[in-house]
Symmetry: C2
Subunit: 314 residues, 2 copies
């Protein structure tokens, strides 16, 4: 069986034909151009679907989309990245265009399904997934099922409080994990510290706005105190949050994905060490923290796995 | 169908015959006397079971027991309140004595099942339960199933971090919910503040060690600043934790039980108000926080509901 996975972002989209082993047989990427309105986006997605389907037949389409999604109806209730998409019947519209059955899921949930179906979470019934990107997304599989919650908007793991009265998060609350462990947060730490740390390695040849998460990890490893302090804020916050997730879900695996996780062991090692201070003694040894291996196609694979998950159920 | 529920605590136990409506038809209570060893405890439980069964026939026994429980085998792996009960086959031993099938569950999980079967959580598939007693226990029903986690020790909601570097919790970590929202924590706040607040209403005729949670709520309502500051610590911590639970589980209901919840609206109102600052805007209006109505028999009812839950599954 082959399916199509669509990773639909506010800026870019990617469409891929995926087989049951998670191999991507054909792929096309493009600009979403949200400003042209939902119908234009649907047309663009349909064209990309047509292109990748030239040599393949598929069962259905899975779409991972940020925001609040009614996964049963395939409706985008609202999505900060898609202004104007209020109660937009994405599945229905795309299905009409393509002639294929379409399933839609929140992108972080799709990511967790992808880890469960094709990634390091394969074979595990209890996994907690974090995507450390522009924001912090979360997805949870507990007892083998995707945790969506009563109205389908649960598993917002980026918005647990790790520091009451900490920095204000994009959501309006204070001290969320996302306010420490996202690329946005790292950028803010760099900007805020610039005046006091002008001599930091981070600013050798770069303006504050040009400093990337990779730069921070690299400079921290070279001993730069300011960079080290930012990495500490990041890893402390992650350790507090993951400790709570472990005590709550008693998972077998915690999986770190998203751009910041490209730091690899430089991220994983301090987090794994610090988490020990935040879990119950009885939890020690019951879980592992791993880096995602889905790579750049995590979005397509997650979206494709939506179809495999739904079809397994029926 | 009638069943027996046993609320097995480290100090006291209670045994009741419970019908499908949650009515307690017969009840017996006693001292656990853990120090006499597990076999003596089993014998005492068996005698109590015999006594309540004089007029009734039951299907099976459910036991709610603190600690780390293997719910499949009915084995107490370890329990801080039952020293020496390492890998103790409670279900098997009690079944041999009573001749009845015995199911065992962690007491906080049993409590959540009780709320789901007989309490304010009846009819809801997504509930988060907190018992605010000597410690803080947690139980979660998500998508209609009890969240036990991969090794059965999950839903330890009392041990999420609400304040990194906060007071040290009994578990060894810092700033757990339990370190703010348990009777033990309130006692500690009273003791620690005594020297600076000797003129507080709390100490009019009482030694610090004699001050109860009820006293603190009462004096806070009378305007006592020290009592109010303690209630603030309690309600702030609960709001932070509940906010995270809502963002994680997207539940329909959060239920507060245990001794501290006897404060009723004096607890519920400030917590419900403060929680709004810690949930995602999209979560507002999707959940309610309610006080448990199971009362003093919550333990027996929770234990009885273990049987109803297991039998529904088979």
């Amino acid at each position: 069986m082959k399916v199509i996975g669509i990773d639909l972002g506010g800026t870019n989209f990617a469409v891929g034909v995926v087989d049951e082993q998670g191999k991507i047989l054909a792929k096309e990427q493009g600009k979403t151009l949200v400003q042209e309105g939902p119908d234009a986006v649907i047309k663009r997605l349909n064209q990309a679907v047509k292109n990748v389907l030239s040599n393949y037949e598929v069962e259905a389409i899975g779409v991972g989309c940020p925001g609040s999604i009614d996964h049963k109806l395939g409706v985008v209730r609202f999505s900060p990245n898609f202004p104007g998409w209020h109660d937009f019947p994405l599945a229905e519209k795309l299905s009409l265009e393509t002639g294929l059955k379409v399933y839609v899921e929140n992108d972080a949930n799709a990511y967790a399904l992808g880890e469960h179906t094709f990634g390091v979470g394969k074979g595990y019934d209890h996994i907690v997934c974090l995507t450390l990107g522009t924001g912090v997304g979360g997805g949870v599989i507990t007892h083998g099922i995707l945790l969506r919650g009563s109205s389908g908007i649960g598993a917002e793991l980026g918005h647990v409080t790790v520091m009451p009265n900490g920095p204000t998060c994009g959501c309006g609350a204070k001290g969320c994990l996302e306010a420490f462990a996202s690329a946005t947060a790292l950028k803010r730490f760099v900007q805020e510290g610039y005046e006091r740390h002008k001599d930091s390695l981070l600013f050798h040849g770069k303006k504050p706005s040009e400093v990337s998460p990779e730069d921070i990890f690299r400079c921290a490893e070279q001993g730069d105190e300011f960079a080290k302090s930012i990495i500490s804020l990041l890893t402390d916050a992650l350790a507090v949050a993951i400790g709570s997730f472990v005590n709550i879900f008693n998972p077998q695996l915690v999986i770190l994905g998203g751009g910041i996780s490209n730091a690899g062991e430089k991220l994983l090692k301090p987090v794994a060490e610090k988490v020990k201070d935040h879990v119950l003694p009885s939890m020690l040894g019951t879980f592992e923290i791993k880096l995602s291996k889905l790579g750049k196609d995590a979005g397509i694979l997650g979206a494709a796995s939506i179809v495999f998950e739904r079809m397994n159920k029926t």
